[in-house]
């Protein structure tokens, strides 16, 4: 008979009462923290108060950690440090700018007053501003569809090429990965050179073959093609790496079994390979879509928004940074965030439904 070794389970501690001094009394720690930091912020200069508040946050955090540890609440314990950094550096500023979007505030002026939803109404319906915004948004949608599909297709095909062991594979793979490692500043500037009508390689090649003067950036189609090509070239390796990580993790014996059963290549792909790469493919799609919505740097470098290639992100940089309309910019970005959230939820919903089916 199987005898399990005796496992001693220490009894869970009951919560300490409010005024008990103990390391896991998070209620007392939070209370002290709130009172003392309120006093410090009110009485002391900002830079001193910051470190006092920081120390108190650390104290409260320690109390929570000890509390979680004694109650075996490991999930919270593991997640907490990452959430803390994200909160301080991302979520807090996000909420701050959400707040700003309800005020009239320009970063080059002192005045600030509450205007409620006026910023949102203005960017969505105002005759002049809203038309630009909608236009930039439609352009962004176009860029998202074109760049993401180009990246997925090229990345997937590259991954298929590299999905086997062959001589020199290691050295060839690093060549394909290099475009991703270039700084956008450098590669964007060099793409302006490649596309340049007078000095550029592309124009030189086409002119010497077809004759005449070839200017890629002359039309909207050309300008869009130029931007999409540069973006897809830079980021297809990203998709490739994720897909490749999935492809090489498929156990070999599955293919061997499929070969014995004479399963067709098409079915082998959908029933064996695809389930293994689906998660990573979804991740690649998700992150590339989010990044594509933020496309601005290449547009700035290649066309400066000319030829009707203005994207919402670049438009936003202009409004928030060059025209100093901080709160209008915040309003636009929250409308944009809303759209991205709807889109990603749709992705995640579809992905989860697929998982449940299989």
């Amino acid at each position: 008979m199987l005898v399990l070794p005796p496992v001693s389970v220490p009894s869970l501690r009951t919560s300490p009462t409010l005024l008990e001094i103990s390391a896991d009394n998070w209620r007392l720690a939070s209370l002290v923290g709130v009172v003392v930091s309120a006093l410090a912020v009110a009485a002391l200069p900002a830079d001193v108060a910051f470190w006092i508040v920081g120390a108190l946050v650390a104290l409260v955090a320690v109390a929570f950690v000890v509390n979680a540890y004694r109650r075996r609440y490991y999930g919270g314990l593991l997640v907490a440090p990452a959430i803390a950094v994200l909160f301080a550096m991302n979520i807090f500023p996000l909420l701050w700018s959400l707040g700003l979007s309800f005020f009239a505030y320009q970063s080059n002026r002192q005045s600030i007053w509450f205007v409620g939803l006026n910023n949102y109404i203005k960017v969505l319906t105002n005759d002049i501003a809203a038309a630009d915004n909608w236009h930039a948004l439609i352009n962004t949608g176009m860029f998202v569809v074109l760049t993401v599909s180009a990246q997925m297709i090229v990345g997937f095909m590259l991954a298929m090429l590299f999905a086997k062991q062959f001589p020199l594979r290691k050295y060839l793979l690093i060549l394909v990965l290099t475009p991703m490692m270039l700084s956008v500043v450098a590669s964007g500037v060099f793409f302006t050179y490649y596309y340049d009508p007078t000095f550029g390689i592309l124009s030189y090649a086409i002119n010497s073959i077809a004759g005449g003067q070839f200017i890629l950036m002359d039309s909207k189609a050309g300008a869009v093609a130029g931007i999409v090509f540069a973006d897809a070239w830079m980021w297809s390796p990203f998709v490739m790496l994720l897909v490749l990580a999935g492809l090489v993790s498929v156990p070999k014996y599955l293919y061997e079994a499929a070969a014995i059963d004479r399963v067709s290549a098409w079915r082998r792909f959908w029933t064996i390979t695809f389930p293994y790469i689906r998660g990573l493919l979804m991740l690649a799609l998700l992150f590339r879509t989010i990044e594509a919505f933020k496309l601005a740097d290449l547009v700035i470098l290649l066309t400066k928004g000319g030829n009707d290639t203005m994207t919402i992100s670049y438009h936003l940089i202009r409004i928030a940074n060059e025209q100093n309309k901080t709160s209008e910019g915040a309003a636009i970005s929250y409308i944009m965030l809303f759209m991205v959230i709807v889109l990603t939820n749709l992705y995640l919903y579809l992905a989860n439904r697929r998982t449940r089916e299989s």
């Binding site: 700018s97 001589p167 290691k170 000095f199 993790s249 991740l283």
Partner: protein, 314 residues
């Protein structure tokens, strides 16, 4: 058998998927594709060793060697290393002694900031991903989604409150500030990526170890982590590449002492109002590419090795 081997199968496309062996035929095909894909980078590297006067020549000069007469003479230039030394010290307008440009400092900054923040994000993110995967909280998916949302807004929106916040507490222009900012910038991707790797591991081995009396820490360090080394390497490389080249945060948050190379590069090539200095830009970019290229190259083994070494998978 010989009857149904097509030309494709004979040159190495025998079975479509899996880490199978393929021959030199596959190497040739992939080499062709890779070379074409690499051409724009190769051109930047060649521009870095071009004499400055030839940077904008028509027809463009393409190669430092004629490859035994394969490339016509008009496309060939004589290589020089002058551009690399002018990255670090160059003669400013008006002549005189060469002055240091401070790029050694900027390279140092880039290395310190990128490696510190990516490692920090990897440690915090892996712990969090393990937590999300093995000890789901109430509303686990909501937390994960909120984390993802932090990557959705354009940086410009987050950066204005961050600048105000950093100024108020004196983090503006310090290493700590930019490192923390980049850590947060990398966390979303790290958590999602590592969670997808942890989710794919079978929990059978872990459960067995727990029953045998291993502590939670031991299960994490000795059983889970070794199985996701490939994931850690991939996440590290992605994080490094994104952080290494990040421009907007660095432009607005770093001071003269903590400036990173992308910002300095942008200033160096467009200052003076004479348009882009192509050879200088190419030289900086080439030097800047080397560290991240080497890291990726050496982590590649892990990047590609399947995570299947005898463990039971779901």
């Amino acid at each position: 058998m010989a009857a149904d081997t097509s030309i494709w199968q004979r040159i190495g496309f025998r079975r479509s998927f899996g880490v199978a062996e393929a021959g030199w035929g596959r190497t040739l095909v992939v080499a062709g594709v890779s070379f074409v894909y690499f051409l724009p980078v190769l051109f930047i590297i060649f521009t870095a060793i071009k004499p400055q006067a030839l940077a904008l020549s028509v027809p463009p000069t393409l190669s430092p060697t004629s490859l035994f007469g394969l490339i016509p003479d008009q496309f060939v230039f004589t290589p020089t290393l002058e551009n690399f030394s002018s990255v670090f010290s160059r003669v400013m307008t008006g002549g005189g002694q060469p002055e240091p440009t401070g790029f050694d400092r900027f390279f140092f900054n880039s290395i310190v900031i990128a490696s510190a923040s990516v490692l920090l994000a990897l440690i915090l993110g892996t712990l969090a991903a393990y937590g999300f995967s093995r000890y789901p909280l109430k509303g686990n998916d909501t937390y994960l989604f909120i984390i993802l949302t932090t990557r959705m807004l354009p940086a410009i929106v987050v950066i204005i409150p961050v600048i105000l916040m950093f100024r108020a507490v004196g983090l503006s222009g310090s290493y700590l500030g930019i490192i923390l900012l980049y850590t947060a910038f990398n966390l979303a991707f790290t958590i999602w990526m590592m969670k997808s790797f942890f989710d794919e591991l079978s929990t059978d081995v872990e459960d067995a170890a727990r029953i045998d009396g291993s502590s939670g820490t031991r299960v994490f360090l000795k059983i889970c982590l070794p199985q996701v080394v490939a994931g850690l390497a991939a996440t590290f490389v992605f994080g490094l590449i994104l952080t290494w080249n990040e421009f907007l945060f660095a432009l607005l948050v770093t001071g003269p002492d903590t400036r990173t190379v992308p910002v300095a590069m942008n200033q160096a090539v467009s200052s003076g109002g004479r348009g882009t200095d192509w050879t200088l830009l190419a030289a900086i970019e080439t030097l800047f590419l080397i560290p991240v290229f080497l890291v990726t190259f050496f982590l590649q083994e892990h990047l590609l090795r399947g995570v299947t070494f005898g463990t039971v998978r779901k």
